[in-house]
């Protein structure tokens, strides 16, 4: 039986459908859970917070959602060791909720995905590379060291920011799970000016992962824009689909 994954929808969320499709392509039983039905969240094995502009990013990106009733079961699940994945706006929510890097109290953020250095939203194709040992990220079961994935960085608030001491700690303790890279995996400066060129953060337990770029937007062959666009398999999952396959493997490993 496939693991059940909830994809949360807040008012203003906009990437929920393609996130569900990417999870389903990886063999997961993914379903949307709407802000009007927080009670429905209890029955799931894992949680995904998708991209968008929940609550219009009022006050700060992800800030209002982090306090929303819909987040309570997610926080509980994260504390209990369940897998929680946040993509873009979802990553911002996890940072605001204090779930990543998870080095401080709940809802007292120690790191943030702050406004881009340019002060503007941008949408550009990127690659990200796994920057920690695979064992550090059990949420991506079976992922190989140095894995490079394609994704789209489409956000206005993608710059990892934290006090210097906290950044040092995060780097030292392996909280920066992915960095921006070129296709060959060489680290590159992030488009947003992110500290440590960080593209994703993971918590201590490795069960909560917050990634700013969207792997689900380059997860099917027809979405590829380079030589990996193979005419014979245009409607097949590929590229960023790897990310979700490892997430599914992690869940399968749990169920076993």
């Amino acid at each position: 039986m496939s693991a059940r994954v909830a994809v949360l929808v807040f008012p203003g969320t906009n990437s929920e459908d393609e996130t569900v499709r990417a999870l389903q392509a990886a063999g997961l039983d993914a379903a949307l859970v709407h802000w009007s039905e927080p009670e429905a969240l209890a029955r799931f094995d894992a949680y995904v917070l998708p991209g968008g502009f929940a609550y219009e990013d009022r006050i700060r990106a992800g800030a209002v959602a982090a306090h929303d009733a819909l987040m309570d079961p997610v926080i509980e699940a994260a504390e209990a060791g369940k897998f929680v994945l946040g993509i873009c706006n979802g990553a911002q929510m996890l940072a605001e909720a204090g779930l990543v890097p998870g080095t401080g109290p709940l809802r007292r953020p120690t790191a943030a995905f702050a406004p881009n250095a340019s002060g503007r939203f941008h949408s550009v194709h990127v690659h990200v590379r796994l920057a920690v040992e695979p064992a550090r990220v059990p949420i991506l079961g079976g992922i190989a060291a140095g894995t490079v994935l394609p994704a789209w960085a489409s956000h206005g608030d993608g710059r990892l920011a934290a006090p210097a001491g906290e950044l040092e700690r995060m780097a030292r303790d392996g909280h920066v799970a992915f960095v921006y890279a070129d296709r060959e995996g060489r680290r590159v400066p992030s488009p947003s000016g992110s500290a440590l060129d960080a593209a994703a953060l993971v918590n201590r337990g490795g069960n909560v992962l917050a990634i700013m770029p969207h792997p689900e937007r380059d997860a099917w062959t027809f979405q590829h824009l380079d030589r990996t666009r193979d005419r014979a398999s245009m409607l097949a999952p590929s590229g960023g689909a790897t990310f979700f396959r490892h997430f599914a493997r992690a869940l399968a490993g749990r169920a076993a």
Binding site: P11, N14, S36, S154, R217, F222, D226
Partner: protein
């Protein structure tokens, strides 16, 4: 009765409406009395140029609107073309095209944002899922501080709105011309996906007498009062503040939720097999929308204005009825369905929590009287015959067709030779100058502000090819492309020729990604219709669109007219017929980006270059004043479009790019810029040098394609089948250079020339 007529005129003047004295008299005569203030503003909106098309309708009839792929033609808020069949269902692509020019000039961020907001509603209200938007922008000179501010804010507004609602921006274009210095053009296109059987019409359904009229969305406020007539007046500096008040306030966050709630309503309607009428509120506000819904259905309406949710207390009835508060839609549903409708919007999707005062509310009923009756606190404030209100007026405007100078071939060649001699340059130097031109240079700074991939259906986002490509049905290989055409440098010279070229360009753009055009939309942006010269430009352009579309065999399914794009100083915009083409690709595997894919591929042009440099980039750079636009040889060009599609299907070519601004060599350079690092090109200048115009031929803007050939033999065979003669231009090479005969230019140098001009579109980081 004369007293009544003159009282009506006096009332109209006091109220400051845009209706003419004659129109006011006509209204009073039909009503048999002086209209109420509410009725006055209702007619002001409905009879405005924007709503009634009173100056343009007689000419628009010339446009071909029928075709085998048209599921729904002109007449409703959007048109629908057939995408194809999948899983036993016929799918349509809904398309709408509108302008939001005046608001974007006056309050650029809000004006452009609400332009996107409105066009998305036009598609939504047909029962469709909104799948993409595109924008055609015409800015004033960017060296001018105010023009730059307007341009930045327009792009910001479009980005803010489209990104927040989560609809990808998949195409568009940007042109800069001094005629837009005081009158920016912001044209927007929206696309939707709908099953043919699920289309919802913008009219009260048959048998709907007694049904509920339900208003959904933002609480009505004062903003936007005066919008429709505002867009039909020229912009005058002194009215700046009043003009600003007429601009609507966008709320993409609320719209995001309304869209999702509406999709849930669609699902319920379909599950319960219930018919409904659905229309979005735009120009003319609540009265305009509900009146049009009922007029189209041949019924009447009774509306209780105090049932309209308002954000401010004690709004006068005319503001409630005619104001253009954004983010509102209007349903006509059977009373048995109403409770579910209200529940979905108000409870499940909690509109009141999302935005204060937002909700769905029953505001009236459908009647059989054929009249529009609105009451406010017991008093009847509107009681007019619907067909008279919405039927509008028609004018025949006097016009003078533009006179386009005819130049003989010999004269042209002489002028060309003179121009070339006066500014001698190597091919590389000229190419660098052309690539840096305002209408050729890279627009990456602009389209990177737009999310082109949200929803996960984008196969080719902006910047990677001539047209955006979407794969809208998960699991199905069917793809849709949208391309835009419309060049102001051509419009200034010859509106009719420019219109033909706009049609060719739009169709060519979708062809370049392997699509076959199945429908067109247009937005006609012109000056003052009461000035014979401007009206003549409009008429000539419509003739050009009609002729080209007819010969291409692609119908217009939707469109818009924007007149009075003129400031009080007298400056009017370049005649700007802007066309969007919707193309269908049976299998997305057959589409390709414009980037060169490998080294050693022959580079070929699909038509002989014409020595027509009127309106061309290189002509402008050389100070060449020619009035001869390139000729659209429609049938030959149509065969080239088909050739590109077939070649992409069979893998005979790897990339295609339409020749436009900057000509063939600029097109080749851009295909190289898009390619993987390490790839360049080499051309043999000699054959072109032998033709009239010499090396300048490399920059002639002839409708044609540059293609990268993969399979020489297959390409030759397909070319012969379609009677397309191609011309060798060069070959792709495995080094990052542009080899132009004896000249060897590093590609990086050319790329820098191309990227630099708009790199700082936003200037320094904003405070």
């Amino acid at each position: 009765m004369t007293a009544v007529l003159e009282d009506a005129v006096a009332l109209g003047r006091r109220a400051g409406v845009a209706l003419s004295d004659d129109e006011l008299r006509r209204i009073a005569e039909r009503l048999g009395r002086v209209p109420t203030v509410t009725e006055l503003f209702a007619f002001d909106a409905q009879w405005s140029e924007h709503c009634s098309y009173k100056s343009s309708r007689e000419h628009l009839k010339k446009l071909p609107t029928e075709g085998p792929d048209v599921l729904l033609g002109v007449g409703e808020d959007a048109g629908i073309v057939r995408l194809g069949e999948w899983n036993g269902e016929t799918y349509g692509i809904v398309v709408a095209h509108e302008s939001h020019n005046h608001p974007s000039q006056v309050v650029p961020f809000e004006g452009a944002a609400t332009g996107i907001g409105g066009i998305v509603r036009d598609v939504l209200c047909m029962g469709a899922e909104v799948i993409g938007v595109a924008d055609a922008l015409r800015f004033g000179r960017l060296e001018n501080e105010h023009c730059r501010y307007v341009a930045q804010s327009v792009v910001d507004g479009i980005a803010a709105y489209g990104n927040a609602i989560g609809v990808p921006n998949v195409g568009g274009d940007v042109f800069v011309d001094e005629s837009f210095d005081d009158n920016v053009l912001v044209n927007v296109v929206a696309l939707g996906l709908v099953k043919a059987k699920d289309v919802i019409h913008s009219r009260a359904p048959r048998g709907s007498v007694g049904w509920d009229i339900v208003l959904v969305g933002k609480a009505t406020d004062r903003s936007g009062f005066g919008g429709a007539s505002f867009s039909s007046l020229t912009l005058d500096e002194d009215d700046a503040d009043q003009n600003k008040g007429a601009v609507q306030v966008p709320d993409p966050f609320l719209k995001n939720v309304i869209m999702r709630a509406t999709y849930a309503v669609f699902a319920q309607l379909r599950a319960s097999n219930v018919q409904a009428g659905f229309k979005d509120l735009g120009a003319g506000g609540l009265a305009g929308c509900s009146a049009e819904l009922c007029a189209a259905g041949g019924v009447g309406a009774e509306v209780e204005l105090e049932r309209v949710p308002t954000a401010q207390r004690d709004l006068p009835p005319e503001v409630v009825a005619i104001g253009e508060t954004q983010e509102r839609l209007c349903w006509i549903v059977p009373p048995s369905f109403t409770p579910l409708l209200l529940e979905l919007y108000n409870d499940v999707y909690s509109l009141p929590r999302v935005a204060r005062g937002a909700c769905a509310a029953v505001i009236g009923k459908v009647t059989e009287t054929g009249r529009y009756v609105a009451r406010h606190r017991g008093e009847t404030v509107m009681d007019v015959p619907l067909d008279f209100l919405t039927g509008g007026v028609r004018y025949h405007r006097a016009y003078e067709l533009p006179r386009v100078a005819q130049e003989g071939g010999a004269d042209r060649e002489r002028a060309l030779a003179l121009a070339e001699r006066s500014a001698p340059a190597t091919l590389g130097e000229r190419l660098r100058a052309v690539l840096a031109h305002r209408d050729v240079c890279s627009r990456a700074s602009i389209y990177r502000r737009y999310d082109g991939v949200v929803r996960g259906c984008t196969s080719i986002p902006p910047g990677y090819a001539d047209a955006g490509v979407l794969v809208p049905i998960p699991g199905a290989p069917l793809a849709v492309a949208v391309g835009i055409g419309g060049n102001p440098r051509y419009g200034t010279i010859d509106p009719r020729g420019a219109a033909e070229l706009a049609v060719a360009e739009a169709i060519g753009h979708v062809a370049a990604v392997g699509a076959r055009a199945i429908g067109l939309t247009d937005c006609l942006n012109f000056g003052d219709p009461t000035v014979a010269e401007h009206m003549g430009a409009f008429v000539a352009a419509v003739d050009g669109l009609a002729g080209a579309a007819r010969h291409f065999g692609v119908p217009f399914v939707s469109g818009n007219v924007s007149l009075y794009n003129r400031s009080s100083s007298g400056r009017h915009v370049a005649p700007s017929p802007i066309v969007a083409a919707i193309g269908r690709i049976a299998d997305v595997a057959a589409s390709a980006t414009m980037a060169f894919k490998r080294a050693g591929s022959p580079i070929v042009i699909t038509a002989p270059v014409q020595t027509a440099f009127g309106g061309s980039v290189v002509g402008e750079l050389l100070g060449l004043a020619s009035a001869t636009l390139p000729d659209v040889r429609v049938h030959a060009f149509a065969r080239q479009c088909e050739l590109v599609a077939r070649c992409l299907e069979r893998g005979a070519i790897g990339a295609a790019h339409l020749v436009t601004d900057g000509g063939v060599l600029a097109a080749i350079a851009k295909m190289a810029f898009a390619a993987e690092p390490g790839l360049g090109f080499a051309i043999d200048p000699a054959p072109m040098a032998e033709r009239a115009g010499g090396e300048l031929g490399w920059f002639a803007e002839t409708p044609a394609f540059v293609v990268e050939v993969f399979d020489v033999e297959a390409f030759a065979r397909l070319g012969a089948e379609l009677r397309v003669d191609s011309y060798d231009a060069g070959v792709t090479i495995p080094e990052p250079y542009a080899v132009l005969g004896d000249e060897r230019v590093p590609l990086e140098e050319l790329r820098e020339a191309w990227e630099a001009p708009l790199r700082d579109f936003y200037g320094a980081v904003r405070a």
